[in-house]
């Protein structure tokens, strides 16, 4: 199973919304993923264990893992293009 790390400033409000929306949209495409949340500041030390990072904010490094920085899972704007990109990066 692919693993995605979702990051935001406090790892509670924003990333919870992003993780829920991302999980729903990937499930709708038949993709079963594991999603964990963290603070942006924790990404450099945690990213190595994941296939992909999705963040609403800047991070200081992703241990070489791909990152999608987007607000689309909050605003809805451009969300389909981001889901395509994420599906591509996971396959």
């Amino acid at each position: 199973m692919k693993k995605i790390l979702v990051a935001c400033g406090t790892a509670i409000a924003t990333s919870t919304v992003v993780a829920k929306k991302l999980e729903d949209m990937l499930k709708a495409r038949g993709l079963d993923v594991r999603i964990d949340q963290c603070k942006a500041s924790e990404v450099p030390s945690k990213a190595a264990a994941y296939d992909l990072v999705v963040s609403t904010t800047e991070v200081d490094g992703t241990a070489g893992k791909p990152i999608v920085r987007t607000l689309s899972f909050l605003t809805g704007i451009g969300i389909d293009a981001d889901v395509e990109k994420i599906v591509g990066l996971l396959s």
Partner: protein, 153 residues
């Protein structure tokens, strides 16, 4: 009670709040949360906004979602405010950019399992331009509640 309130004790609506800065908005909304939050909440929310801004560039009606960590929360609640005049918040993920926020949502979450669904459904509602417009135009708390729960219809 609509989906907005799922998992959250209280949703507080503040229509046409007059505030001159993002700091003043955060202070007013934290005060509106009353004993849902600890005295440390407002300082934590201000620090969080500085470190990691929360302005979201929705078209027409931008929204900011300032908040603080769960350890500053006593009981979960969400404040939804419309502003008498838009206030600049720095944009989430792009702190050099600003948005002119006309709506501000301050979630006070004590655990993501409990309250995340409420915030997620509120954010989902805010993705509807009609709901954003209705919330921004509402003159009373009851009208704001109706705007969210009526799905903008």
């Amino acid at each position: 009670m609509g989906q907005l309130l799922h998992g959250v004790d209280d949703t507080i609506f503040l229509p046409r709040l007059a505030a001159s800065s993002d700091r003043a908005v955060i202070e007013a909304l934290a005060a509106a949360l009353g004993d849902h939050v600890l005295p440390s909440f407002v300082g934590a929310a201000l620090a969080r906004e500085k470190r990691s801004p929360t302005g979201l560039p929705f078209p027409d009606v931008a929204v900011a979602i300032p908040h603080a960590e769960p350890e500053h929360v006593a009981r979960p609640a969400i404040v939804v405010a419309s502003l008498a005049s838009p206030v600049k918040f720095r944009q989430m993920g792009s702190p050099r950019a600003t948005v002119d926020a006309a709506l501000v949502v301050m979630p006070a979450l004590s655990s993501k399992e409990q309250a995340g669904a409420a915030l997620a459904s509120l954010i989902q509602s805010l993705q509807d331009a009609r709901i954003r417009a209705a919330l921004a135009a509402a003159a009373t708390a009851d009208e704001m509640r109706a705007a969210v729960e009526g799905g903008g219809r």
